[in-house]
Amino acid sequence: AQSVAQPEDQVNVAEGNPLTVKCTYSVSGNPYLFWYVQYPNRGLQFLLKYITGDNLVKGSYGFEAEFNKSQTSFHLKKPSALVSDSALYFCAVGNDMRFGAGTRLTVKP
């Protein structure tokens, strides 16, 4: 069975600082990994995905994620956080799209 874990319920960062939202995975075979974001009172939106190729994946709104096979991780990153990045972030895995529990990111001015 494929699964992902998001070890942090909440991440707080100051505006302008770099942010990291963590995700680890457990799969048999090749991992297919996704990040989605849910802004308040809005539907989930796709940010980026890793299928194969470069370990650093670039996505929407300046986000990127680094695939690390040895650490079985796929952490979401952004060099400089914005207050508008405050939202609920979900990591997902596989063609049956299993999601993690989510991490609430709060960016403070």
Partner: protein, 115 residues
Amino acid sequence: GAGVSQSPSNKVTEKGKDVELRCDPISGHTALYWYRQSLGQGLEFLIYFQGNSAPDKSGLPSDRFSAERTGGSVSTLTIQRTQQEDSAVYLCASSLDGRQNTEAFFGQGTRLTVV
């Protein structure tokens, strides 16, 4: 339509009644997913349809829950004899082809309240 459409957007029902939730996926999308989200929490996987293959029903929490997808398009999630713990937002998503790990597009959800 341009996106995934779910209806109704809100549903209030009495405990013990049956409810049907509808999802219209994006035209041409072969994969369709149902999830349940309780009050800003995580997404609980319910069921995954891929083309004409047998659906993955492993996430359905009890035999009160069932789903079908007619003609490879519209899907209906049915909850029989609703309980208060069924109250949640039910989200539907579709993707071009789950086997190719294409990204999913989500509907706005149906907020179900069981009173």
